[in-house]
């Protein structure tokens, strides 16, 4: 499973766009990039998944450059309720990588009024 590196924390203000970058230099050809969001004392929830270029859903966008050695989760116009920990995972799928998918420490995003 490719090792990922994310900033430990980020601060933002309501209404701003937030970009969280994840580095995964050892990503394999068949690996996907998946982001989860976790609120305090709750289980993480799936946000978005992508393989290359750009993926967008109703919650976020995921930008993946051609070399796929990094990816950026983009949250448009954040609100206070977006304050959470964001995890970046890289792997072909969680089944084959179960046991290595530790979720890391994630990025703690704090949105201020």
């Amino acid at each position: 499973l490719a090792k990922t590196t994310q900033p430990i924390s980020m601060d933002s203000y309501e209404g701003q766009e937030v970009n969280i970058t994840c580095s995964h230099n050892n990503i394999a050809t068949n690996d996907y990039i998946t982001w989860y969001q976790q609120f305090p004392s709750q289980g993480p929830r799936f946000i978005i998944q992508g393989y290359k270029t750009k993926v967008t859903n109703e919650v976020a966008s995921l930008f993946i450059p051609a070399d796929r050695k990094s990816s950026t989760l983009s949250l448009p116009r954040v609100s206070l309720s977006d304050t959470a920990v964001y995890y970046c995972l890289v792997g072909r799928d969680l089944q084959t990588n179960a046991g290595k998918s530790t979720f890391g420490d994630g990025t703690t995003l704090t949105v201020k009024p």
């Binding site: 004392s41 289980g43 929830r45 969680l94 089944q95 046991g99 290595k100 530790t102 890391g104």
Partner: protein, 115 residues
């Protein structure tokens, strides 16, 4: 449709005791994963069950064990509790299609406190 449910929500035990945590996956999901999350830290993989079999295990001592029942619900047992076992224990389930795992759906977790 009901999500992943875990019980109990909170559990307080003393050192040396045993704790049993339970998880019911989303209907139709055959895979159940257990994670440990100590306060302020990331999730550490514990166990993965699929179709009643233990498929993989994280780097935890043997006193962490579990099982999956025919209805795909699962139990996590922690024997000889230690203070550092205090954590949020999260269960997740997923659907496997064509051999690949879909997204994980997590429960709200069980908060275990060891005194």
């Amino acid at each position: 449709e009901a999500g992943v449910t875990q019980s109990p929500t909170h559990l307080i035990k003393t050192r040396g005791q045993q704790a049993t945590l339970r998880c019911s996956p989303i209907s139709g999901h055959t895979s159940v994963y257990w994670y440990q999350q100590a306060l302020g830290l990331g999730l550490q993989f514990l166990l993965w069950y699929d179709e009643g079999e233990e498929r993989n295990r994280g780097n935890f001592p043997p006193r962490f064990s579990g099982r999956q029942f025919p209805n795909y619900s699962s139990e996590l047992n922690v024997n000889a509790l230690e203070l550092e076992d205090s954590a949020l224990y999260l269960c997740a389930s997923s659907l496997i299609f064509r051999g690949e795992t879909g997204e994980l759906f997590f429960g709200e977790g069980s908060r275990l406190t060891v005194l």
